[in-house]
Every structure is written in C-alpha cells, then in structure tokens.
C-alpha cells in the first residue's frame, strides 16, 4: 500500500530526506 501526497506549497519548500529513506509517522517531511 502507498500514500501519495500532492500539495501546493511556497516555491522555496524543500523536502528533508532522500528517495529510499525510511520515514516514520510524525517526522517532518519538509521545511517551509
């Protein structure tokens, strides 16, 4: 199963992980 998020964010939004990284519920996804 998979969760896909699609969202609008300011142009300077940055994700804070790499593809393939394990992530846990509640950890930050990006910086705004």
């Amino acid at each position: 199963s998979t969760i896909v998020l699609v969202f609008e964010a300011p142009k300077d939004f940055e994700f804070v992980f790499n593809s393939g990284d394990k992530i846990r519920l509640g950890e930050r996804l990006g910086s705004l």
Partner: protein, 334 residues
C-alpha cells in the same frame, strides 16, 4: 584405511557441489542487480525506459485476478486463529516482515484474534511523537519512493517513471459554466495550474510505500480541511518498489481513495493507494466508503462525495477539519 579415505573423498566430491552451485547462482543474481544499477546511473533515462514493462506485459500482468485473490486473502485472514497457533504464526509474520512488537499497544500475540487484527495493530501513544515545530509531517511509517516538484503535470512513482496527475486525481469537481453538455476537456497544463490557488506557489508530491510489516494506519500530515472524497475502483496490483519501477502508471491502475482539500498554502490532497494484500481502504471521515467490492468496474469511473455536506459534530460546513498527527484512516488486509 584405504576404504575410509575413499569414502572421505566421495563425500568431499558431492557435498560442496550444491553449495558451489548455490553460491554461484547468488553471485550471478547479485551481478545482475549491480549491472542494472550501474546501467541506471550511466545511461539514465534510456535505461529506465528499457527496464519498463512493455504494453503487452502490463496487459498480461493485469489479467491475473488480483482483486479476487485480495478478497480471498482478506477472508482467510478474518478467520479466528486458535489460541495455540497465534504466537508462532504472528511471530513468524513479525520476523519475516520486521515488525517491532515492542511499539504495539498490545504486545501479547494471543490478544489478536486473527492476522487482520495483528496487521491493523495500534501503536503505543508515545512511540511516534509528532514534530510540533514543522507544519508538514509524515502521515505514516514507510519508505519514501519519490518526492519533488510536480513538473508539466506529471507525477513520478519512482525516479524517471512518470504518470499523469490529471488521471491520478481525476477531473476537478468544479465544472466551469461554459462546459458543453457537462463535458469539459482541459489540457494537462491548465489542469496543473487550476490546482494552484495561491501566488508564488508550486505543486509538490511525495510517495510513501508501506511494507507489510509497517504500521498500516495513516494520520493527518498537517492541519487542513478536507472538502472532497473520490474513490477510484481499480486493479490491485502489487505496489512494491520493484513493480513501481516496472509498470508505468501503476498508481493510476490501482484502486485508490483521494481526499482533497485545502491547507494554509492552498491545495492539499492525500491519496491512499490499495495493493494486492491490502485491498481495502477506510477513512474515518467517510463511513459510506466501500472499497475492493466484487464485480467488474469500468476503468476511469470514480465515485465522488462532498465532505462539505456532512452533518456531524466534528464536521463544519467547510468540510472535515483534519488535525496534524490525528488518525484519519487505515489499510485493511484483503
């Protein structure tokens, strides 16, 4: 003594052969993986195209009755397991898929009546602290398959393998007044820009894969208001990263439920994509939602529900208010 030596040599001759063959096979497999990985680095997009399934292969793959298998799997796993079998059975599952039972709210295997209950186990309240300092957090445990800015109305399931944003989310629910007979065709570019509601923003996406051993409930990744639910009945192909690298548009084939709404920066959506093992999806805000039903479906058909029209205490006239970190739904076995 001579017969003893002969016996020894005979055993030396045959015992290592299976080991050698096995070792050689593993080396060969590993060599193949390394070669593919290096090719991906060297040849880039051309290599990605080469590794994608051909149309006939996808069609052949889609013939397999994964939906029926999924429902059968769900039925089997709803059967109550005898008490004496629970610990060895769930223990094996936990070892195979690296479940951390220490994090589960109920650690005793015997308390779970069937694998379905074990699969949907809850976590202890303190094991997943929600980051209070950042606006956007992960909605679930899992592995990030891909993320980034949405370019030219294309999403990426893994690096280099794109699929259509318009097909994934479906048409906008608001049909403009100048639509002819209710039909409204919109280009990919116009669709993309119609999702952006505010100035100085872009669309981003993030794909998180949940492995069989992961916690299979999902939570709100931010504070937002859900306006609309769209259910796309579809295939239940496996979504593991290997298949995501092989079948282009995998998520557009699969059954999925998309919740769209708004957050402080504009448009926001969360889509739960089903898979063979995990065929049904539940959202707590929508009790009417039924997924993985029997019977055929027509590709491209979807079922909408406005979440603005609900009349419950937790729901105001603007939609369902989702608070960062609160549980909003689950994936179920079968």
């Amino acid at each position: 003594p001579s017969s003893g030596v002969a016996g020894y040599w005979r055993s030396l001759k045959w015992v290592p052969i299976p080991f050698s063959v096995g070792f050689a096979y593993i080396c060969y497999q590993q060599y193949g993986h390394i070669k593919k990985r290096e090719n991906r680095h060297i040849r880039g997009s051309q290599s990605i195209e080469d590794s994608l399934a051909k149309e006939w292969q996808v069609n052949l793959y889609r013939i397999v009755p994964f939906r029926s298998l999924s429902r059968l799997w769900g039925q089997v796993n709803s059967v109550e397991v005898p008490l004496f079998l629970r610990a060895p059975m769930y223990g094996l599952y936990a070892r195979l898929f690296n479940c951390n039972l220490g994090e589960a709210l109920v650690e005793d295997f015997k308390q779970y009546k069937n694998l379905q209950e074990f699969f949907m186990r809850e976590l202890k309240p303190d094991v997943r602290p929600v980051d209070a300092h950042h606006t956007l957090v992960s909605p679930c445990d899992g592995r990030v398959l891909h993320f980034g800015k949405v370019e030219k109305s294309k999403l990426e399931q893994v690096k280099g393998v794109t699929y259509s944003l318009k097909e994934f989310l479906g048409p906008r629910s608001t049909i403009p007044a100048d639509a002819v007979d209710g039909k409204y065709e919109v280009s990919d570019e116009d669709y993309h820009s119609s999702l952006c509601q505010k100035e100085g923003t872009s669309l981003y996406h993030c794909v998180i894969y949940l492995a069989p051993g992961d916690y299979h409930r999902f939570h709100s990744p931010t504070n937002w208001t859900a306006h609309h639910r769209r259910h796309f009945p579809g295939e239940l192909l496996s979504v593991n990263p290997g298949i995501a690298r092989w079948v282009r548009g995998l998520f557009n084939y699969n059954e999925r439920v998309c919740i769209t709404g708004e957050w402080q920066y504009g448009f926001f959506s969360l889509t739960a994509v089903g898979a063979t093992n995990v065929g049904s999806i539940a959202f707590y805000c929508d009790q009417e939602l039924c997924t993985n039903l029997t019977g055929k479906y027509k590709p491209g058909i979807y079922f909408d529900k406005s979440l603005k029209s609900c009349h419950k205490e937790s729901i105001d006239h603007d939609g369902v208010v989702m608070t960062k970190g609160t549980g909003i739904g689950t994936f179920n076995l079968g």
